[in-house]
């Protein structure tokens, strides 16, 4: 009969209207400024640089300015200038460090490719999202100092992943030390132990090759 469908629909909305007062499944609002969302561990929003030591962030950056992330970044929002000198890293080994490391968050699309390609676990994804600002140029270009966050913070936002990374790094360090020791014992000559990153492929530098179909 005409109207049954309408009445069925009205019943559904009535059920929801009443349900919103007693059924949590029918009242799904999280009142944001007071109730913050529970972010999953995997959540990613903008990268940050991991430092080993919170008290000396610039001295203990894991980043060695290898520029892989800069080249792989799809929207090209990372800018790195290598240092001219070397400074000891957290393990005390002299390393090149980024003299300039800037990420333009007004361009970054949080795709996580920089994290995936980084061989040093130096860049990780942050979870900060309350970053609305009135200042277009000042607040959205993050420099080295703003990007550096301690490993403890990384543990806080990505606990399982950070533990894995720490274990892997410790293992690498141990292997490197052993290797260095062995090398020192063999040749008594110091040798770089850190895995040297391979220079990545330059994007799109070559002229196109002949048509593959021809």
């Amino acid at each position: 009969m005409l109207g049954t469908g309408l009445i069925k629909g009205l019943a559904v909305t009535a059920k929801n209207l009443v349900g919103s007062y007693h059924d949590p499944a029918r009242y799904t609002t999280l009142e944001y400024p007071e109730v913050k969302p529970k972010l999953p561990e995997a959540y990613r929003n903008f990268p940050f640089l991991v430092t080993e030591n919170a008290t000396d962030p610039m001295g203990t950056l894991r980043c060695v300015a290898c520029q892989i992330c800069e080249k792989e970044c799809p929207p090209q929002c990372i800018y790195i200038e290598k240092s001219k000198d070397k400074k000891p890293d957290a393990a005390g080994k002299p390393q090149i460090y980024p003299a300039v490391f800037a990420i333009d968050t007004s361009v970054c699309m949080s795709c996580q490719i920089c994290v995936e390609v980084c061989p040093f676990d130096a860049i990780k994804m942050d979870q900060e999202y309350e970053i609305a600002t009135t200042d277009r140029f000042g607040a959205l270009l993050l420099n080295r100092e703003q990007l550096a966050k301690p490993n403890s913070y990384y543990h806080q936002i990505h606990p399982t992943e950070a533990v894995e990374v720490d274990a892997r790094l410790a293992e690498e360090r141990r292997a490197a030390e052993e290797k260095a020791k062995a090398a020192a014992a063999a040749k008594s000559a110091p040798k770089s132990a850190a895995p040297a990153p391979k220079p990545p492929a330059a994007p799109s530098a070559e002229a196109p090759k002949p048509p593959p179909a021809a």
């Binding site: 400024p33 929003n45 361009v107």
Partner: protein
């Protein structure tokens, strides 16, 4: 800009309030009214528009801030949320919509694309930021920003409105005589928009020249 020194300091304003100065109360009422009734234009551009819609949905409920009235006509809207990539083909329409909105009006650049072209900034048809043509109040970086980030931006906007004095150099745009509120609509040229930016609105920042890049 909110971070500039206000024309009247807080102490002076408190003083004025104690003395029952009508202007202050009027100003407060005016700012209270317009900050709590920000009706956005029902205008989505791209990916961020989906998150904008999500922000008005049950989980986030922008209605709590009194802003769920998405008006389809610019005549009744207060807030232009530029939610997504502004292409060069679209830019004149966005500017026209902005001009069609009655004062006082606000603009939120939501997401990387609206701020700077974002990941698509290298595209031939992509405008590198809507602030080249219209004044932007709040920038929300992210790709796309979470709905909570949009709510955060809205709270920022409300705070900005509430803090605006009605006179002096920090007065809102529409109450000042030295600023032209209408933005000229760019035209389609043979290769690009003409002009490619509106110098009255968009001033590039002090240039950071980076010539030493290896």
């Amino acid at each position: 800009m909110s971070d500039a020194a206000p024309a009247i300091t807080q102490a002076e304003r408190d003083d004025l309030r104690r003395n029952g100065i009508l202007l202050t109360s009027l100003e407060e009422l005016y700012n209270w009214g317009r900050s709590h009734s920000v009706w956005p234009l029902n205008f989505g551009l791209a990916c961020c528009a989906i998150e904008m819609i999500a922000a008005s949905m049950a989980r986030y409920d922008i209605a709590r801030f009194g802003s769920e009235v998405f008006r389809p006509s610019p005549r009744q809207a207060d807030l232009l949320i530029v939610s997504g990539t502004v292409t060069k083909k679209m830019a004149p329409q966005v500017v026209r919509l902005w001009n069609q909105m009655p004062e006082p009006k606000y603009c939120i650049a939501m997401g990387a694309c609206a701020i700077s072209g974002g990941p698509f900034k290298q595209g031939y048809n992509v405008l590198k930021g809507i602030d080249r043509f219209i004044p932007v109040d709040i920038y929300i970086p992210g790709c796309p920003p979470r709905p909570e980030a949009l709510l955060h931006g809205l709270v920022q906007l409300q705070a900005k409105i509430s803090g605006q004095p009605l006179t002096g150099p920090d007065a809102p745009r529409h109450l000042r005589t030295d600023i032209e509120c209408d933005c000229p609509v760019p035209e389609f040229g043979a290769h690009d928009l003409e002009p490619p930016q509106n110098p009255a609105v968009w001033t590039p920042p002090p240039a950071v020249v980076r010539p030493d890049k290896a």
